[in-house]
């Protein structure tokens, strides 16, 4: 298991992890230390920071800090669920298409191309209009937007690995296709997939935030970072913190996740560095 944490030796990886842990802790446990009820006005609307409300109040006079501490779970939870689902679908399609070497490949890939042709946000809006704006719909919709391009990356990486000797040796041993894919192919395509995963998660957050911002995802008076920005955007001149604080949390999370994804991919790429410097090439 120790190899899973090797990325911490890269400084940006350790910083990324620290940032992500901070944001996740705020999102998960922030509500237990929130000074006020997020849905009850505590003062004059849009007043600046004070000792009663450290980040001031929003357009209805609710405490911005409390709403911030309550509003992370939905963003992170939805984005994480959507990204995981997108990877489950994308990995399955990409590995099958890349490894099968049969007519399955073109069929899957042309289907994926059709999916890619839809403008993502429009697709999501149409889906929400048709199926309603439930949490499940949002997750499935975002996953469906991401899965096609994930499957393309996975397929390309798989094609490259399947011609290697170790895969052929496994095939010659008569191993089942699933065993070959899991043991021989998957570990060797992790590096590109992980670099990509950081970006995907960021994209999930942004698209969910966009939908919430447009008022089609979560509905007021729910506390949600994206919703906070959307609600207060017109009054940014009066209390800048009502917009800036949730925006900063989303930004921190995306930066942290990307730093971590890159560091993990790099540590995989050069894992098992030789103890001696035999690596000087001829």
């Amino acid at each position: 298991m120790r190899s899973a944490f090797r990325f911490l030796r890269i400084r940006s990886g350790a910083i990324g992890l620290a940032v992500v842990v901070f944001v996740v802790v705020v999102a998960l446990f922030g509500r237990y230390v929130a000074p006020h009820d997020p849905n009850v006005p505590v003062g004059t609307p849009l007043s600046g920071p004070s000792s009663a409300a450290h980040l001031g109040t929003d357009f209805l006079g609710r405490d911005v800090l409390s709403r911030l501490l309550y509003g992370g779970r939905s963003v992170i939870g939805l984005a994480a669920a959507a990204t995981v689902l997108a990877y489950a679908i994308g990995l399955a399609i990409g590995l099958i298409a890349g490894y099968s070497r049969s007519k399955v490949d073109p069929i899957l890939m042309r289907t994926v191309d059709v999916m890619l042709a839809f403008p993502p946000l429009l697709f999501l809006l149409v889906l929400i209009t048709g199926a309603g704006s439930g949490v499940g719909v949002l997750i499935i919709g975002v996953a469906a937007i991401q899965a096609p391009s994930i499957s393309r990356i996975v397929r390309t990486a798989t094609l490259e690995v399947t011609v290697r000797g170790y895969v052929e040796a496994a095939v010659a041993r008569g191993e089942r296709a699933a065993a070959v894919v899991v043991r021989e192919v998957l570990p060797n395509i992790l590096a590109p997939v992980l670099v990509d995963a950081g970006l995907r998660f960021t994209y999930s957050i942004l698209i969910i935030a966009s939908v919430n911002y447009l008022g089609l995802g979560l509905q007021p008076p729910a506390s949600d970072w994206a919703l906070l920005i959307s609600e207060n955007r017109e009054y940014i001149a009066l209390n800048v913190w009502a917009v800036l604080a949730p925006a900063a949390m989303i930004a921190l999370l995306t930066i942290g996740v990307n730093l971590m994804g890159d560091a993990i991919a790099r540590s995989l790429g050069r894992s098992y560095v030789p103890r001696t410097t035999r690596s000087v090439p001829a």
Binding site: R164, A170, R173, E184, T276, T277
Partner: protein, 599 residues
């Protein structure tokens, strides 16, 4: 063009290069090359030969710094000069021919434009399509006037290498540095390229520094040889003397490691592994692997001392060793002939590849048999279909037609449809040890897998068997905990062999198993295979393009030309009296040592 004919065009004095960490890579290297002379720079991977060669172009790899000494090319100091000065010398005074032309040519640039770029940089007056065509004519690519319009991927490996040579010569530099220019090309193409280079040298008087690990190739090209080991020149002298009467034990060992078509003998690998940068032992760096080492060898680094006017050796025992027999083993003991029944019979094998709408026939009506306990070599150029045959036997490629009968039973085309025991008894070792082991699995896990899948051993039994197998291929048991990147090419190939042996096979298909390895490592791997074949009564199908190797390992040989068998028979007969014209051409092109060597 070739300077004033007087002094040397390349002069390297006391060159020292080290890593930024302080470990020396090249230590006190000095040599000179006269106009029109070819110097061979020989050594194993990691000996510093490429680093030295790149220094002639004023280039050091990132992480390598100049510590001392000077490099003068065409009378101008190139090492340590400013970037602008160095750039104006490269291509005009000294040029470079890389090892891998496929990787060195820009895939999005037409080859004519690539040559034009060199001209524009140095001789803008002469930059015209005519001079590009002339440059291509000089490397015999001028027949098609539109050749320059092609992209690198439309050329064969040999043509690509000719283009890089044309780029190197187009400005008529007095010196060219060639870094293993024929490694990775097959013998016939290699032969043509070498002839080409010799012609360029005699016509244009270009001096060359030819870097290679293959003494046989260097013997054909060079006038003088400098043998490098662990960053130092250990022997330096005229070709005839260095190869005919090697004085340094390392040179001797290298000579003994070269498979020779004309004098088949058991090869002798050099024991141990070449020392890496940062691990140089005190005293003579070859001492730990040297059969003649004494205590005083470890006392101090021996000086490079002249034994005759132009021959210098870095060995304290150079005079004592002079008369002892050069390192060559006896003749190979052939397996008992005729006695065995055929283990594998291939009849009427046909393989077609479908590409787009067309069909390519890769293998056409090939039939042969392998008797139990014998080694059959399958020889041919790249693209002759030899690897495809090996893959069909291993069940990795389904033939279009024909039968493969193994031990009396017909084999299914695909490995998945074969019986467990059939899969177990046929094993394949792949060409490239750098990608035949899963980089994410420890060596032990890679070897364990066939034990568990094909021999149904329990986890505990398999783990015990792994160390036995590693010992079998002469690797220490602790290697089981390592990952493939921690091993050298030769060590990885041994692991790949151990993985194949884990299945207790009867037939081993070896697909170009040594072509990615240094000559000395190749000898050690071949030695191991010969021993395994003898001890385990293995049958082998040995696929190779190197006729010298064939002569050293196999009992009979099959020669393939463009998908068909053109000749087959016992090794001695085919190699001494070839009946087919193609075999004769292959034999003629195989590089071998001059007659004097290895008396």
């Amino acid at each position: 063009m070739s300077g004033d004919g007087g002094g040397p065009v390349v002069r390297v004095e006391g060159l020292c290069l080290e890593l930024t960490s302080g470990d020396p890579v090249v230590q006190d290297v000095s040599f000179a090359v006269g106009a029109g002379e070819i110097l061979g720079l020989v050594g194993e991977s990691g000996s510093g030969k490429t680093t030295t060669a790149l220094a002639l172009l004023g280039y050091t790899r990132p992480g390598v710094v100049l510590r001392g000494g000077s490099v003068e090319v065409g009378g101008e100091a190139i090492m340590g000069s400013g970037a602008r000065a160095v750039r104006s010398l490269r291509g005009r005074v000294v040029s470079y021919v890389p090892q891998d032309p496929g990787g060195a040519l820009n895939p999005s640039l037409r080859v004519g434009d690539a040559i034009m770029d060199v001209l524009r940089a140095h001789r803008s007056d002469a930059a015209s399509h005519d001079s590009v065509h002339t440059a291509l004519e000089r490397v015999e690519l001028g027949a098609d006037p539109r050749f320059g319009r092609r992209f690198p991927h439309q050329l064969s490996g040999g043509q690509q290498q000719r283009v890089t040579i044309a780029m190197a010569c187009v400005c008529g530099p007095p010196v060219a540095v060639l870094d293993e220019p024929t490694t990775g090309l097959d013998v016939l193409t290699q032969d043509r390229i070498l002839t080409e280079l010799l012609r360029l040298r005699s016509e244009e008087g270009m001096a060359m520094v030819y870097v290679s690990h293959d003494l046989a190739v260097v013997a054909r090209m060079a006038d003088r040889i400098a043998v490098m080991y662990a960053g130092r020149v250990v022997e330096h002298g005229p070709v005839d003397e260095v190869i005919g009467r090697p004085r340094h034990p390392y040179t001797r060992a290298l000579v003994g490691a070269i498979p020779d078509v004309r004098r088949p003998r058991a090869l002798r690998g050099i024991p141990g592994v070449a020392v890496g940068v940062g691990e140089w032992p005190p005293g003579c760096s070859f001492a730990p692997r040297c059969a003649f080492a004494q205590e005083r060898c470890q006392a101090a680094v021996p000086a490079l001392e002249e034994t005759s006017a132009r021959h210098a050796v870095r060995c304290v025992r150079r005079d004592e060793l002079e008369l002892s027999e050069p390192g060559s083993g006896g003749a190979r003991a052939a397996a008992p002939a005729g006695a065995g029944r055929p283990l594998l019979e291939v009849s009427g094998l046909e393989v077609e590849y479908r590409s787009g709408r067309g069909r390519n026939v890769a293998v056409r009506d090939v039939s042969f048999a392998i008797e139990a306990g014998r080694c059959v070599a399958l020889v041919g150029e790249s693209g002759s279909g030899k690897t495809t045959i090996g893959r069909c036997i291993a069940g990795l490629h389904v033939p279009t037609a024909g039968r493969i009968v193994f031990d009396g039973q017909e084999l299914d085309g695909s490995a998945r449809d074969r019986a467990l025991d059939q899969r177990r008894r046929i094993q394949i070792v792949f060409q490239n040890p750098f990608e035949s082991l899963n980089p994410r699995h420890r060596v032990g896990a890679s070897i364990e897998r066939p034990l568990r899948i094909l021999r149904r051993l329990s986890r505990a039994d398999a783990a015990g068997e792994v160390s036995t197998l590693l010992e079998r291929v002469r690797l220490p048991a602790r290697v089981a905990d390592r990952y493939p990147v921690e091993l050298s090419g030769g060590e990885r190939q041994r692991v790949a062999i151990a993985r194949a042996l884990a299945a207790k096979p009867d037939l081993l298909v070896c697909d170009e198993v040594t072509s990615a390895l240094d000559v000395s490592v190749q000898a050690a791997v071949l030695e191991l295979l010969a021993e395994l074949q003898r001890d385990l009564h293995l049958s082998m199908l040995f696929i190779t393009h190197n006729l010298g190797v064939v002569a050293c390992v196999s009992d009979s040989v099959l020669v393939m030309d463009r998908g068909s068998l053109c000749e087959s028979g016992a090794v001695q007969d085919v190699l001494s009296t070839p009946s087919d014209d193609y075999t004769r051409r292959l034999l003629g092109a195989a590089p071998c040592l001059p007659d004097r060597a290895v008396g």
